[in-house]
Point group: C2
């Protein structure tokens, strides 16, 4: 028993710590990039960002460094950081990798999932469909992300989850503009996926997820033209 004080565990609100500045800068920049406030190809000047965010250059540099390794910005030596410009080819490759990772996650989820897990998935699906019916695009996209994240969690492979999280976020960056077009159909497929997971049918879960992600990929390709 750790707490020798008579206080209950959650009584002390953990003393909201701001957390490392570099992380907050990272989050801020990522937000600016994903919302297109910083456009692809744009030159990111360290001192400018630092001044704008009210911090020094150092945290900005570290944030840019991290964004670089995750593929959000390109760091050209002695020239600075530029917001990454996604090519159509790269987007397609990213989507195909996503298909691979998500399909595997679906398979593992089907192998591991219990009744309570399935219930949780159903709940997420309900909310997602509700958002679609209400024309709440942002909400639907968010629920979609949470659903996929939940499947990934059920897969129980943290390494896989880490890679998928990166890929997914970038995919969503490219994909958000076309998300609007893909409403109900997507959630019907989600239902099929959950059914397959509930049946513990690894083969079918893999196939459904593959079809699902490939579907969005095809939609992206058609949009390119």
């Amino acid at each position: 028993m750790l707490p020798t004080t008579g206080l209950p565990q959650g009584a002390v609100p953990k003393l909201e710590r701001p957390g490392p500045l570099r992380d907050r800068v990272y989050e801020a920049l990522l937000e600016l990039i994903t919302t297109r406030a910083l456009q692809p190809g744009q030159h990111l000047v360290e001192s400018e960002l630092a001044g704008h965010l009210g911090v020094s250059r150092q945290p900005v540099r570290e944030a840019l460094q991290r964004l670089s390794t995750e593929g959000w910005v390109d760091l050209r030596p002695a020239q600075g950081a530029f917001v990454h410009e996604p090519t159509d080819e790269e987007a397609d490759q990213l989507l195909s990798v996503r298909t691979l990772l998500e399909a595997e996650a679906a398979r593992l989820a089907a192998a591991n999932a219990g009744a309570d897990a399935v219930a949780a998935l159903e709940k997420l699906c309900d909310e997602g469909e509700k958002a679609v019916d209400a024309d709440d695009v942002d909400g639907a996209v968010a629920m979609n992300a949470r659903l996929h994240a939940k499947v990934m969690e059920l897969a129980g492979n943290t390494v896989l989850a880490g890679l998928a999280a990166q890929v997914d976020r970038r995919v969503r960056w490219y994909y958000t503009p076309v998300a609007r077009q893909r409403g109900h159909r997507s959630w019907i497929e989600h239902r099929e996926l959950i059914a397959a997971i509930a049946d513990r049918d690894e083969e079918r879960a893999t196939a459904v997820m593959r079809a699902h992600t490939e579907h969005t990929r095809k939609m992206y390709r058609e949009r390119e033209k």
Copy 2:
């Protein structure tokens, strides 16, 4: 035509630029980690490393930052960097992800490969076997890496290649101690893989690569006990 000088393209050796210091620090630290000079769990003190490498703390910080995002070190806030301690579970997950990525790469390679590509693979395989015969473990491991990298290159998916490169390097970190045990058998499997690629047989290439990487995974598991 860019070169208006009459000089051939490669004549000027690009004026050997030292390149960003942080990258060299990164390479140096990665070398130290993979060679076990810095042991898992060890606390990495910035000023210590900086002094040892003859640079300031800043490049060291940036290198550690990058190593952190790639999973080599754990960056605990306000505490510093610690060499990542791989758990058995994590190693297993990493190996399973590797299987997934490499199998897909093999499939794509089989779909794309031409005669010259197959020849290049054969050449790498020859050298690898030569290294094994000479009991040159480090050389064999290196050739193994280059062979897999070549397959990945043939797959033609840079995103996939990027992920696989990270995973592979970490796998090799865990795996190096047991590499010695897995000599000839591994290279026989390589031959089978190349044959499948030469036949443009995607199914078989996938299966062979999957068996190959799963084989090393099993070997690792047995070693755990």
